[in-house]
Symmetry: C2
Subunit: 439 residues, 2 copies
Amino acid sequence: MNAGDTIVAAATPFGYSGVAVIRLSGPGVSRLLEQTTGRTSYKNRVATLSDLLSKTGETIDRSLVTFFASPRSYTGEDLAEISTHGNPSIVNEVLSLLIGLGARQADPGEFTYRAFINGKMDLVQAEAVASLVGSKSKENTRIQQKIISGDLSILLNRIRSELLDLLSALEHQMDISEEDLDLEYINQLEKRVHRIQNDVDSLLGTFKMGQLFNSGVSLVLSGPPNVGKSSLFNLIANDDRAIVSDQPGTTRDVIDLEILLSGVPVRIYDTAGIRGAENSVEKEGVYRAIQKRQSADIVLSVYDSPNAIPQHAERDENIIYILNKTDTHKANVGNGVIHISCKDGSGINTLLIKIKEKIGVEKISTDLTYLSTKRQFSALTDCSRFLGAAATLCLNRASDLEIISYELREAAGSLDVLLGKTTAEDIINNIFNNLCVGK
Amino acid sequence: MNAGDTIVAAATPFGYSGVAVIRLSGPGVSRLLEQTTGRTSYKNRVATLSDLLSKTGETIDRSLVTFFASPRSYTGEDLAEISTHGNPSIVNEVLSLLIGLGARQADPGEFTYRAFINGKMDLVQAEAVASLVGSKSKENTRIQQKIISGDLSILLNRIRSELLDLLSALEHQMDISEEDLDLEYINQLEKRVHRIQNDVDSLLGTFKMGQLFNSGVSLVLSGPPNVGKSSLFNLIANDDRAIVSDQPGTTRDVIDLEILLSGVPVRIYDTAGIRGAENSVEKEGVYRAIQKRQSADIVLSVYDSPNAIPQHAERDENIIYILNKTDTHKANVGNGVIHISCKDGSGINTLLIKIKEKIGVEKISTDLTYLSTKRQFSALTDCSRFLGAAATLCLNRASDLEIISYELREAAGSLDVLLGKTTAEDIINNIFNNLCVGK
């Protein structure tokens, strides 16, 4: 991604609708607006009805054009939003026109990348824009909104500046007491490092829940053939009104759909019944079913006969054992096995409650800010490890302050990476490429 | 549809994208904005960064809110456009919030309906908004844009006022000369009526082309099994880069996709080979193939043997006879039969030219305004018929001016229906229901 030129992209999904929005950002925005509408100046932030004209002067569309002058725009550059009728052929013609006049089709996430480059947001905030756009629940929207508005960045910057204070004090100490070790100083240092590590660790503690809301969990229906897995799949799908999306399976036998349970996106996979298969197509299905089961966060293991259920079923952390068809046989199997009947619907509510319990979802707290990406978790895990190493060196009365200083500098470095103050190009590109074109 | 209350809808397609736009129109817009953003007033037409707050005061999203004061808005009422992050869960939450505060989910086309009710556009313009949003080509976009900007309305209103002038002169004539028929007056009247009818008829003459661009044509591949229909289907699909959309068939054996030929949307249907089928599934396929063939605008009748092609093939107006597999047999069949080879691609360009010729598409003229809906055509056909009847009465020296006046009033009435000055409720509803929600 190159800053400096003028980029353009559709910011709304492809489709026939009331309105489509085209975004334009960079130094050429004023010139391009003049060339396409004939208007030499736009009042800042005022929606202005303008005819978009083709090269031969025909009206492509009558649009609302809003100009946002640099630096007070989303990207920090001159930016325009062109609101046309929601028609793909209009959008394509306007895009072609602008590209013909020198604009460049934006890469995915490039508008947000420019906001980052121009200091409108840090990397944690930019990451949250991607998570927000992809958010599937109110709960995750709240979490990401708080990060975009700066809650996490403020916390991280506070930790970072405490660390930098500590480091400069330490450098000072190293200057004045090169020889004899000041035990009292080392005690105090250890306490302060420990306090910072606690702050980092309490942020790390929010990751499980944040990731749950942001990425969701997978739930695989598994078991012998004809025990009612697909019936159960359909029941769960119909039972929960908050279906986010359903799409045909990518593999022959695994079909899946996504529901929301307490705000957590749960992707449910229906798999082939597991048995010694006879033909090669079924064999492939069984193989995939077993693979799916192994990668699942939670397995719903369905049976229709009490004798088939393994002993000590309750010991398997991520498996829920289910006995189906209890309308026909009145078995009594304990050990946490859920009794259901897909025929009369009994036990389904109990099952859903059990699933929520296994997911371990709690109500999100509005006081907390949640980590929600692996990058955030891994950078802070590094930070905590370096802080831990520094604290241990203090406790062991390390005589060389230099190595403590080294660990603290590494810890600060992890925060810099997290905030995008120093981050490798490819990591940055990866974050912005996760965003859609036009954002 | 009820005017008077405040309506709300998403104006952009459902999906994950940079931006989503929510529209709000009616007397409650200011109150609703205050209740959701806390801001008591918005500057007219200025895009203002605002936090949308849930009932409990949490930020749902940081959005751009633009307020358009009545009457200078799309609907003529107070209107707001709320531009949020392009995320369905945010859009749904904002819609729920606004509906909870008293807004009503808009019906399809209701924003444009309000523009019509409030005199911002007539029915012909409103109809063109629907056609524009659904437009699949640059050419049709141009045609509809001209109608929206008022070109057709100006023409129709000019014709209408000429008619009304004529009518009031006629009424005057009826007052002053109740008894004796003024032949010179009748001659003049006939000429003027005829001139108006000519104007109407030349508009009617634009319908074929206008409808072609607006509705497109259907093209059905037909023929015995295994002559290469599906290969040809794929070749045409790949040959034309301007594929608008392709979707899996709704019926078992008919699959279709849409391409643009010279700006005309051409939907191509591949059908089952026609033969005495053995099993019931194939029988159904053959039945559907025959049905499709009968309803097609143009049939591509494909053969792989020269002897199978009917005599006098050139006489069928809407059929193009095609001899495939000419790479293997070098037959020489005349009579307008197109020789192709799906294997080496020869003859495909000739075929495409022939298809364009059959469609009869001409380059659209920027001087003309085109009728493009059946409603427009049928109202103007009525108008022309009434004018013709009036002219005939004049030529026959009808002694009763009253009956001439009746025909002219009917002609004017057709124009009123067309422009929506007097139009039945169900016709109006039908026009607006063709639009999407949020427009």
